[in-house]
């Protein structure tokens, strides 16, 4: 059976034109998806059932036992951390926020290690953004700054920018100008009309220089700014001002380098300035397929998008203090629930060392690097393959993620709801 118009649950593009061939409740072929999405649909070697650490090995336990362990762990903790969330559906994220409030823990999602600084900047100066459809149909100038979509969001170029014809652009490849700004010549830079190479850590200075040029203050700009010649800066500023509609996409090349949210703020203020001359928008290249959703869910439920501390019974937010890396590196938390993430593969060593010292429960379909640090792992269905739910695309558009096979695994939402019900029962006693 071929299932059409499937939404790919890999990156923030949420490509919704994927065709999946299913035989005997197994995905056997995938069309239209990129290699990243295809490998996720064809993923194998799932954990068959919940496991609990037993000395130097593991023993199989039931879902009931695993859930009871997780509930006891959270109820005993004085500062539990609930981390992950970006690779599961919004309905599960909702239950997670309710649960964090009830156990008075800290809940954080992967935003704090990717585009958290983008949100901090947006909180300071706003977000002149738009949907991907608007960019596809109107943008004649695209800037990719500190991101490499060919590797990280492979279909972004073919669905929305370089290779995508739009309503007002009949021949996108000819009519669109693509500028790539990065510290090295990436694959994306190879297909750009202009590549701007910046010295590492120099993004802020280049953005400031562009802002000054757009404001007409060119006399102060030196011959070279962070490795970029003055003539090139003047040319880029002119191209931006002359564009009919510009779209600025940025990645972790500016959010996770020196200056962090100040880089993003500077980029947003550059776009604000350009809007005095033409139409220009800016958006983040979000990574995990539902990381935007976790920000949405957290914000509508708590007022804050990530890094929320419920210790006092009310939501407190202060990235740098209430975010997972900080809570772990300072060895504050005394228990950790990880949902749909793999912090041991990405976090700094002191954080992982602390994970090894405290009780950890992981809810994830696959054994991963974090498995080595957890006490219990609960396998679940994969959203978009054997579980359905809601996810938000990188431009904030919510999409219903379909289920294409029946596997018998419970979804994240089912496991978390059972945990939440048990915690409610104990708390009400």
């Amino acid at each position: 059976m071929i299932v059409k118009d499937v939404v790919c649950p890999f990156c923030g593009c949420l490509c919704d034109d994927v065709e999946v061939t299913v035989e005997d409740d197994r995905v056997v072929a995938v069309d239209n998806a990129c290699t990243l999405g295809t490998s996720k649909f064809l993923g194998d070697h799932r954990l068959p059932g919940p496991i609990r650490r037993d000395g130097n090995g593991w023993k199989d336990i039931s879902y009931d036992e695993a859930i009871r362990y997780a509930v006891d762990m959270l109820l005993d903790a004085e500062r539990p951390l609930l981390y992950g969330w970006s690779s599961t559906h919004g309905e599960a994220q909702c239950v997670g926020v309710h649960m964090a409030e009830l156990v008075r823990g800290v809940i954080d999602n992967t935003t704090s290690v990717c585009h958290g600084p983008s949100i901090l900047a947006i909180q300071e100066v706003g977000h002149p953004g738009c949907t991907l459809g608007v960019v596809k149909n109107r943008a004649d100038l695209i800037i990719y700054w500190g991101c490499n979509p060919i590797d990280a969001h492979p279909r972004h170029l073919s669905r929305y920018t370089r290779y995508a014809d739009g309503f007002f652009l009949e021949n996108a490849f000819r009519d669109r100008t693509v500028i790539v700004v990065d510290v090295r010549k990436t694959e994306t830079a190879n297909i750009a009309d202009e590549f701007v190479q910046i010295r590492p850590g120099g993004d802020y200075a280049v953005l400031s220089a562009l802002r000054a040029i757009v404001r007409g203050k060119t006399d102060t700009i030196p011959r070279s700014v962070s490795g970029v010649p003055r003539e090139q800066l003047l040319r880029i500023a002119r191209r931006c001002k002359e564009a009919k509609f510009g779209a600025f996409y940025f990645g972790q090349g500016i959010t996770m380098t020196r200056g962090k949210y100040k880089n993003v703020r500077n980029a947003i203020e550059l776009v604000d300035e350009l809007n005095r001359h033409t139409k220009f928008t800016i958006s983040a290249m979000r990574g995990h397929y539902n990381v935007y959703g976790s920000n949405e869910v957290n914000t509508w439920m708590t007022g804050y998008p990530f890094g929320i501390d419920f210790a006092r019974g009310i939501a407190f937010y202060n990235p740098g203090e209430t975010t997972a890396i900080d809570v772990l590196a300072r060895r504050e938390c005394d228990a950790c629930l990880i949902v749909a993430s793999d912090p041991a593969a990405h976090f700094p060593r002191p954080c992982v060392e602390h994970l090894a010292e405290i009780p950890v429960v992981q809810i994830d379909p696959y054994a991963n690097a974090t498995t080595a640090f957890c006490n219990v792992q609960i396998p679940v269905a994969v959203t978009g393959i054997d579980a359905a739910g809601t996810a938000y695309r990188m431009d904030g558009v919510p999409l219903r993620i379909r289920k294409v096979i029946e596997s018998g695994y419970p979804s994240d939402e089912e496991i978390l709801s059972r945990m939440y019900a048990m915690i409610q029962e104990v708390r009400s006693e």
Binding site: R79, Q123, A209, P222, V225
Partner: protein, 255 residues
Amino acid sequence: MRVTLTVRPREKPFLPIEAETIVPRNFLDGTDTTVWRGNRELPLDAVFSVSVEGNAETAAEVEVVMRGDTALIKRVGEYMDAGRIVVEGDIGMHCGNFMSGGTIEIGGNADGWLGREMRGGSIICRGDAADYCASGYRGDKKGMTGGVVEVFGSVGDFAAEHLAGGTVIVHGSAGDMAGAEMHGGTLIIYGDCTRPCANMTGGTAFVHGTAYDMLPTFRRVGTIRREGRTFIQFTGDIANRGKGNLFVGDCRYMD
């Protein structure tokens, strides 16, 4: 009146304590107050051994002395309006948040957000202060609006971010982007720093040492003499309105 708070040994020493109740005015009514350890609310004397000497009729007559392992005690002196707090060792985050009067003296180092959104009074830190010293809160347009923060060691990144009034003095060096977005007040750094006063719209900053990776959007005006030293005067940040004044002993650009 002198209130001495000595931290008791803790079973989980890395759990932070939130103690915004440690403010001189609160001790006029006795020491029957609470603090938070993680998600548990505890009486003050469960975390500190408390001793009180003398009497006071106003908050200005109260001195609070903190001893022992105070490095993870957060929010001490929050909304303080009078009196004196002496921390003999290090202090945790958010010390002196929103304070409007009185004095906090820290013998050791201060963690992040020292004197956040301070309105008046003075904070003296004998050691180093971490990131966001004398800054604003996330998303706020105004940081510190009055008072004095003086750090005898060095400070981390984003010191005096969104500075809108008052004076911040750093005797050592500052990290990255000191005085970012500042639009009032005075920032003095006796050591070095990187990218000072990014996107500033007003206020005055002095860097006695070298400003590394100086931003290209500051317009060089000339030189001035101050305290027996020559400073290069800039106005900026011209990426926006550019009405701030930045004086640096020396500077280096990232070409």
